[in-house]
Structures are given as C-alpha cells and as structure tokens.
C-alpha cells in the first residue's frame, strides 16, 4: 500500500485570543500595586549610661501631652488637634520674637508624651500635625529663598540642606519609664 503523504493539520489558533484574555483578567485581578505610604520617624538610639544630659532652656521646649482620652495638653493648656499645627508653627518660627516661644527654629524642641492607653490613631494624628508644621515652615522658607516649593528642590542638594538646617525636625519622645511612672 503506498503511503499517502498526510498533510500536517494546522493548529486551531482561534482560541488564542480567549486564552490570552483569560490570562489578562487573571493577572488584572491578582495584581495589587500596593503603594505603601506612611510617616517616617527616626527613633533615638539606645539610652547610653554615660550620656550627659544637656540642659535645655524651658522656652525652647514645646510640650505636648496626650492623655488616655486622646485629649491634648499643649504647654499646660488644653488644645484641639486642629489647632496644634498652627501653635507649633508659631512656636518654632517665633517671628515676633516672643520671649516665651523658642529662641530660633533650630533650637526649638518638641517634647511629645503619651499615655499607655492613648490610641495609636490619636498619636499618629499628633505626629502628623507636628510633621505638617515643619513641612509648611520648610515650604515657606524655600519659597521665600529660592522661589520653589520644598518638595521640588533636588534631593540631597545644597539648597535642600540649607532649609533642613534652618528647620531641623526635633521631636523628642519621652522614655517609657517616665510615662509609666506617673
């Protein structure tokens, strides 16, 4: 019997589109472009026994206390969270040279103290407001000096550094022992 030459059957490519489409939908669903955002904080290093305590003038300390009811006590007075940013800005910059506020922005220190049962949400709220105060001050300084927003300055540039030394962010948090004591 003579062997017939058989034609190679063609692969049906009609369903290719369907398969690709299905895969596309699968990846669409599983993809999660998780953009992680947050407030960056630098913790102080481990307390050193040999550390010498610096004396800081009372006027340079901006005291913020958060109690267990998430209420604020700023410089000995009750305050709403919404007013904190402006109060902090006023304290740090002290443009009117008020003798009760900070000597200069780079000497200003914010002291933050919270209770054990303060909620994290409220705590972060306060952190956010303080950060906002600094960000706004830096932005103002940058606009006045260079005419551009602080965010638009080149990262690591001299100009950025200049603003950062003008307004260093000094937020000091109380050691837990001090919190739990009272």
């Amino acid at each position: 019997m003579p062997r017939q030459k058989r034609a190679i059957p063609e692969i049906n490519a009609g369903s290719m589109a369907d398969i690709a489409f299905l895969l596309l939908i699968f990846f669409l669903v599983t993809t999660s472009i998780d953009s992680d955002k947050g407030i960056a904080i630098k913790l102080p290093p481990k307390p050193d026994k040999t550390q010498v305590l610096q004396k800081i003038q009372e006027r340079n300390i901006f005291e913020v206390l958060i109690n267990s009811q998430n209420q604020l006590l700023v410089e000995g007075e009750y305050m709403e969270v919404s007013a904190l940013c402006d109060a902090a800005k006023l304290f740090i910059s002290n443009k009117e040279r008020n003798p009760e506020l900070s000597e200069s922005p780079d000497k200003a220190i914010i002291s933050l103290k919270n209770d054990v049962s303060t909620t994290y949400g409220a705590y972060l709220q306060v952190q956010n407001e303080l950060k906002r105060a600094y960000n706004e001050l830096r932005d103002e300084a940058s606009r006045a000096k260079f005419g551009v927003a602080f965010d638009d300055l080149v990262k690591g540039s001299e100009r950025e550094q200049e603003i950062l030394t003008m307004y260093p962010q000094k937020i000091s948090e109380a050691e837990p022992e001090d919190i739990f004591k009272d």
Binding site: A20, L23, L24, F27, L28, T30, T31, S32, I33, S35, D36, K37, G38, I39, A40, I41, K42, L43, P44, P45, K46, V81, S82, L84, C85, N114, D115, V116, S117, T118, T119, Y120, G121, Y123, L124, Q125, Q127, N128, E129, K131, R132, N135, P176, I179
Partner: protein, 132 residues
C-alpha cells in the same frame, strides 16, 4: 501588551496578614522610597479570634510573636538585604488605629534594642481629624 504588563507587575503576596488593620490616615504620609530595605510589622487584633484570641497581637512575617522576640527577627531580616544598604533598613509598622500606645511603645523599645531606628508608621494618605 496589557497581559505582559500585568504579568510583570504582579507579585504574589509572600506573607498573609493575620490581623485586622484599619490604618490611620494622615495628610503628611509620604511614599516609601526604597521597598527593598523595608520589612513589615503588623499590630492588631487577629482575624480569627476563635483560634488566636481577641487580644492585640504583633505579627512578624507569618507568625504571631511577642515584642521581646523582635530583636532576633530584626537580625534575621537584616541578613536579607544587601550589606551596603543595612543603614537604610526600615521597619514599616502597620498598625490598627484603635490599638493602645502601650503595645506600640513596647515594640518601639524592642526596635531600639535591636538598633532598627528607622521606622515608618504606615498610614493612608488622606484627611486626618486635625484638618477638618
């Protein structure tokens, strides 16, 4: 084209979050610059209280741990990232906004103990209570 895009972008989640987290929102939340050097730490109430109890727990990688176990975990995580970048090692704390500061302070102290000083409080970008 789209298919390839999503194929490349898709990254399977490597650790399952076993705690319920409603992140707080903050107006000043900034995008994390370097994800390679970031590790995540979760604090919140377990999703399944019938198994893990209803107290607030700390989750490291896949397991619930105590705050005292953090230094060992940090050491382990630091090995994972390139040696020249260890200075940038960052811990992103994803915590529920209703947790108390007591547990967070414990975690922070352990992180200080472990010399992991760069931390990020993970938050959604958005209106905070302060900016009404």
């Amino acid at each position: 084209m789209l298919l390839f895009f999503f194929m490349v972008v898709t990254k399977m989640k490597n650790n399952e979050v076993k705690v319920l987290i409603t992140p707080p929102s903050a107006t000043e939340a900034a995008v994390l610059e370097n994800k390679q050097v970031t590790t995540y730490l979760y604090i919140g109430k377990p999703v399944r209280p019938d198994i893990y109890g209803s107290g607030v727990r700390v989750q490291l990688n896949d397991a619930f741990k105590e705050a005292s176990e953090i230094p060992a975990w940090v050491e382990e995580e630091k090995k994972r990232i390139p040696a020249h970048q260890t200075d940038f090692f960052t811990v992103s704390i994803k915590a529920d906004k209703t947790i108390k500061m007591g547990i967070l302070t414990e975690v922070k102290q352990s992180l200080r103990e472990a010399n992991a000083l760069k931390i990020v409080y993970s938050a959604n970008k958005g209106k905070s209570i302060g900016t009404k």
